[in-house]
């Protein structure tokens, strides 16, 4: 089949290009580890999310400028994961694709990458996304077994092969359990966050309050039909498997802490930390013209983004605190304050990540000494994660950013329509997603 004629290479822009438009999104409901998607691979889920997006926007056989996605826990066979998913998605097979990995920030990063290509006038349309499975995680074999297997493949005689095999010890055959512990500290993310939580004096009650709001807001958003246009069911799962619409403060208060347990005030529980999850999410981006030519909506535009990293390895900063740096820098560049945002999305890796990040933004001393910028003030809680976030939805690492961008764009569009505000009055949303390795990605969307 020939390439789609409409999607020719865009002309070199005469002036700065308009900002990339978020046209829509699609994700599959997020599953719990070992749950509905236990036999689904990353490729299965990413293909499902892409196919749903193709069906929603009638993109069959459409050649897009580029597709970028990725996974955090990735099998080596999935080296070309996104391209493989594109080939199974119904898009024109001439659509190129590339993989990206920036831990939990992966799909904010892919949105950023695709948006930049659009803004530079290099492509006029693209899809960004991410996927992760903890149910179908790659199992690593011991280094001795791996090296022996590699040597075996090079061995030429039976004697050489036998010698290699007899050198193996039973212990070499034990698989190495997959984990996302920080290689430099050996600590899990939860243990790191327990340290940060204590440092900022975040209470158990405050964390449970965030968790409760996440479940309630997500359940309400489902009931309002917000996700009818954002989610396509998969393998019989209609809603996020972790969502507990009926949870209460009392139920959350009963859970025992799971991280930082050596301290008497340990406060991170299974209720206020994200569960291990499986899922995929995608976002359709393009120029306004590309969208208009196809009668597709423009929900919002990508304004700007910023990444940051902190030196957690030497203990100078909490592992998940980079959002406290990325967001102020981004706002300073754009000349915006927290009050300029109608919606604020802080990824709930842990309830306390949200709380420590907000505490840092409001802390004059921290902001001036560490970030070198004025404090941002308090976040209006009525604008925070209004349609729920990762605590309730779950957190398939690389899919979370695209989930947030997709949801936020829909919220911005809805508010713009409902407010009946003048077209020139922007409705803005802010995203902060922390990531392993002491990183974070922040982004501004505007409708």
């Amino acid at each position: 089949m020939a390439s789609t004629p409409e999607n020719t290479t865009p002309a070199v822009p005469e002036q700065a290009s308009p900002r990339a438009a978020v046209i829509g999104s699609n994700r599959i409901p997020f599953g719990k580890a070992g749950g509905a998607y236990r036999s689904a691979s990353n490729l299965d889920m990413l293909t499902a999310a892409l196919s749903g997006l193709v069906a929603r926007f009638g993109l069959q056989d459409e050649r897009l400028g580029d597709v970028s996605a990725g996974a955090v826990l990735k099998h080596s066979r999935d080296f070309n994961l996104t391209r493989e998913a594109v080939l199974g998605s119904g898009l024109d097979p001439h659509t190129p694709a590339f993989d990206v990995q920036r831990a939990c920030g992966t799909s904010v990063e892919t949105v950023w990458a695709i948006a930049n290509k659009i803004t530079l006038g290099q492509i006029s349309s693209g899809i960004a996304g991410g996927v992760d499975t903890t149910s179908d995680a790659p199992i690593v074999v011991s280094d001795r077994l791996r090296k022996t297997l590699l040597r075996l493949s090079r061995a030429k005689t039976i004697q050489q092969r036998l010698a290699l095999l007899t050198a193996l010890r039973p212990g070499d055959l034990a698989p190495v359990a997959p984990n996302v512990n920080e290689p430099r500290t050996g600590l899990s993310m939860g243990e790191h966050q327990a340290i940060t939580t204590r440092h900022w004096g975040i209470t158990r009650e405050a964390q449970d309050e965030i968790a409760l709001a996440s479940h309630r807001n997500l359940a309400a958003a489902y009931d309002d039909g917000l996700f009818d246009d954002l989610i396509t069911p998969y393998r019989g799962l209609l809603r996020d498997e972790s969502l507990r619409a009926d949870t209460t403060a009392e139920k959350l208060a009963k859970l025992t802490p799971v991280f930082g347990k050596q301290a008497p005030d340990a406060s991170i529980t299974a209720g206020n930390a994200t569960p291990l999850s499986d899922g995929a999410a995608t976002v359709l981006l393009g120029t306004d013209t590309w969208a208009e030519e196809r009668g597709l909506p423009v929900l919002a535009h990508v304004v700007d983004a910023e990444s940051a990293a902190v030196d957690f390895a030497r203990g100078e900063e909490g592992l998940l605190m980079a959002g406290a740096y990325a967001v102020p820098r981004l706002l300073a560049r754009q000349g915006l304050g927290l009050a300029d945002f109608d919606f604020i999305e802080i990824h709930e890796a842990f309830a306390s990540t949200v709380l420590t990040t907000m505490a840092a933004w409001a802390d004059e001393e921290f902001m001036s000494s560490k970030v070198g910028l004025p404090a941002l003030g308090e976040v209006d809680r009525s604008r925070l994660n209004v349609a729920g976030s990762s605590l309730a939805a779950g957190h398939p690492f690389a899919a979370t950013g695209a989930r947030i961008v997709g949801t936020l764009a829909a919220l911005l569009h809805q508010k713009k329509l409902n407010d009946g505000a003048a077209p020139s009055t922007p409705v803005r949303g802010l995203i902060s997603v922390c990531a392993a390795g002491g990183q974070a990605v922040a982004m501004i969307l505007e409708a």
Partner: protein
């Protein structure tokens, strides 16, 4: 969903056994091949019986489709017999026509066609009305006599409709073709000269935008496929919970998926907005979504009654009102087809709620027809009989076998049979067919 009995009596040793025992032998019906639509249109030449302007017009149409047309019975088998009865003025005149047809029936090829073309009895003098209405009982009896997948149907041409109107030639072509495989014992009334002959008979819906509700599976998915094959862009609507199957179907037919509960207040608006923004037009809506909540009336609960009414009729009424309020739809007016059911015509034990809503659909369709005609549109209903779907596969084996065999073709229809009929009613050539309830039931033994 497979019909094992049909397979057995049509192949190998079991075919001989069935023949010897004189068991009913339902035939494999000739159906449209997706890659070779209407090729061939018929399994053999056409025998055209009758005279007059209508017979000449029919001959012209048949010849324009490259069919081999004979006015007397040729050697060998014929693919179809067209009996023109428009000049019939008195019952005594029927004898020649009836016996001529009778003499040719044994020459009819498997899945052959008998089509009568006649005039309506309403408003005619008594002997004329008698002669014309007699055709009704005659044709339905002929259809029951046919074997090997043959069907018999009629076209009734109303006053003011020219012999070569698009509706007449359109209906003739539909009834001759494999598209009407499971339609038998039915009359299609062409009431106005409206409509247009399509530029390409195999792609009559080219460039049109059609909405299909309940498109995720079964009959709805088949409708989406056939409409798309005929050239339409399909917007498939289904419950958000059926989104996965809906996306799959829409990606197959190059359509657009809209996850929407049709009982929501603004369902019509949402459909309109999507059609407007993506395509700038909306030409057709197929109200296919429907639910069953079977229960004897003596045991009926408010939940079961109300749910069936909400989905099967109330939602359609609300959506139609919202669509009719729009004045910027397609250039040719809106074409509606609603799914009725033989249960809504003949009734069915345990289906008072379903039967009520399906008969209500017929009432609504007849009321909408003149209203839509003002803007160039039409409203018709299609009433499927026993169709092999996931839903009917759940009927216990014995009642299922009985239901399957209780029609002239002695088998269940396929979703595609319903879809083909709907595609015809939405086509430009069917513009003169309005307010009709066309059954796709293999001439079910109950009801007309």
């Amino acid at each position: 969903m497979s019909d094992t009995y049909l397979d057995l009596v049509n192949s190998g040793a079991t075919k001989q056994v069935a023949k010897t025992l004189g068991l009913p032998r339902p035939a494999r019906l000739r159906r449209t091949h997706a890659d070779a639509v209407d090729q061939p249109l018929l399994p053999g030449p056409v025998l055209l019986l009758g005279a007059g302007a209508q017979a000449d017009a029919a001959a012209e149409a048949l010849l324009s489709w490259d069919l081999d047309v004979h006015r007397t019975l040729p050697q060998g088998q014929v693919g179809a017999i067209v009996l023109v009865l428009t000049e019939l003025e008195h019952p005594e005149q029927m004898s020649d026509f009836a016996l001529a047809l009778g003499g040719a029936l044994r020459s009819l090829a498997p899945s052959g066609r008998v089509v009568t073309i006649s005039r309506p009895a309403e408003g005619a003098e008594p002997q004329v009305a008698a002669a014309r209405h007699g055709v009704d009982g005659f044709l339905r009896s002929v259809a029951k006599e046919l074997r090997a997948g043959g069907t018999g149907n009629g076209i009734v041409i109303h006053d003011g409709v020219a012999a070569d109107s698009p509706g007449v030639t359109g209906a003739l072509r539909f009834l001759l073709s494999a598209r009407s495989a499971f339609v038998s014992g039915q009359f299609i009334h062409v009431t106005t000269p409206d409509g247009a002959t399509p530029a390409d008979w195999t792609r009559p819906l080219e460039g049109r935008v059609a909405v299909v509700t309940g498109a995720a599976r079964g009959i709805g998915a088949a409708i989406a496929q056939v409409l798309s094959r005929d050239g339409a862009h399909v917007i498939g609507v289904d419950m958000p919970a059926s989104g996965e199957q809906l996306a799959e179907v829409m990606n197959t037919v190059h359509g657009t998926a809209l996850q929407l509960d049709i009982t929501s207040e603004d369902a019509g608006q949402r459909i309109l907005e999507l059609a407007r923004s993506r395509h700038g037009r909306l030409d057709a809506v197929v109200h296919n979504a429907g639910i069953l909540r079977d229960k004897l009336l003596a045991n009926m609960t408010p939940e079961k009654w109300d749910a069936v009414v909400a989905v099967n009729i109330a939602a359609q009424l609300r959506i139609n009102e919202q669509l009719l309020a729009a004045d910027d739809l397609g250039p040719e007016g809106l074409r509606l087809v609603s799914l009725a059911s033989t249960s809504g015509i003949a009734g069915n034990r345990g289906q008072t709620n379903y039967g009520y809503t399906k008969a209500a659909v017929i009432g609504m369709t007849r009321s909408l027809a003149p209203r839509l005609a003002e803007q160039g549109g039409t409203a018709n209903a299609v009433a499927p009989g026993f169709i092999e779907t996931e839903m009917t596969a759940k009927i216990p084996p014995v009642p299922r076998q009985i239901a399957r065999r209780a029609n002239s073709l002695q088998q269940g229809g396929l979703p595609v049979d319903v879809a083909e009929t709907i595609a015809f009613l939405l086509s430009p050539q069917a513009g003169g067919i309005n307010g009709e309830v066309l059954r796709v039931c293999g001439q079910n033994l109950v009801g007309q």
